[in-house]
Symmetry: C2
Subunit: 239 residues, 2 copies
Amino acid sequence: MSTSPTDNARRDRFLADLLGVMAYGELSAFERYSADARYSPTLHDRAVMGRIAVQEFQHYELVSARLAGLGVDAEEAMLPFQPAIDHFHDRTRPADWYESLMKAYVIDTVSADFYRAVSQYVEPQSRQLIQQVQSAEDVTEILRARLKKALSDDPRLASRLALWGRRLLGEALTQAQRVGFERAFLSGLIAGQGSDVRESDSGVGTVRDDAGAKHMVADLMKELAGNHSRRMTQLGLTG
Amino acid sequence: MSTSPTDNARRDRFLADLLGVMAYGELSAFERYSADARYSPTLHDRAVMGRIAVQEFQHYELVSARLAGLGVDAEEAMLPFQPAIDHFHDRTRPADWYESLMKAYVIDTVSADFYRAVSQYVEPQSRQLIQQVQSAEDVTEILRARLKKALSDDPRLASRLALWGRRLLGEALTQAQRVGFERAFLSGLIAGQGSDVRESDSGVGTVRDDAGAKHMVADLMKELAGNHSRRMTQLGLTG
């Protein structure tokens, strides 16, 4: 089956949206993490959080450059997602540094899983970029080690952080679905917007009908929740 | 005249102090600027402020690495300056994004002048690092251009920003003198701590007596204020 101009336009739009939401997510994470860093218990911890924030900014710059390479204005691509992401951060303000640490840990890993899953539907160069940006295993490892230390230093943190982790996951999934559906992320190119059967070209994933799309989204959310739960267990917390 | 062990110890202490105050200044500027970036009027401006903040962090890392190279713990070197610098930031909280921009412009340039002047008294490798870190002319240029644009877009900003600039300068000079004298920066190695005449070895500046030291400090403050005033004039503001 050949690709129509409409399909191409839709695919371009999807890619610009995907990179736009990633770029804004990274820019705002940079600002939030670096502001939170100030409340770190030690100067060493401040520097660690700072370095994580700087990495978010560097990712923002990479994604921004890719948008420019595609002829898309980064600011325009980001703008539609600003209210939702700002709202997300407003709803998940950490009460202290340990909650900031947990927020970075949960949000970075859940969104990495999300973007990696979605990246299979975009053209190879952007897919590679997304996978590169979203596989910062070293950062996750630093956050995990620091959280483990905090939990072993003060076991009373456990129940509070477990609860906080669950809330973050809930907000993140709600966010992913809302942004996804509103902007036709998950229902658009990934799934077959009302059409019956549509096939992929050049490595862009195959999608089926609307019911299939809903199923896929539900599966993705389940997968994200499952991975999150495993990561909480690694911290000795109940997912 | 030969150098006594006491002189060497004093010189090492002076260098650790100088790099320590620079490192903490940069780490805290990074956090403040990136937090302020969030209030930028456009996403483009947010990214610009973010990049400036990231550069502060990179400078922090360079200075930190130099401290490590000298066998000094960066955290220990920074700690004594934390209260004074935090206090400085608390006293100079920008009321909006334009005041943030002006703060970055004034503080970066005044402190660059200060550190460059003081760097002549340290060993060559650290001197070179200080001069490298403190000559971010590109950042100054970006800030200057953005401030000029803001002032031309809204001429009512001029009197507020001129006043704010004067206040920032006053706080910065007070800070430089306080930190300098408390930690024996300016009265210690640079100036001749109560002794009569002390000469330099290996490129470390020559200093004279206590009255001479006070004179030097006064001259330095005058120079900082003069440079500041010229930079304000470049913005079309009264220094």
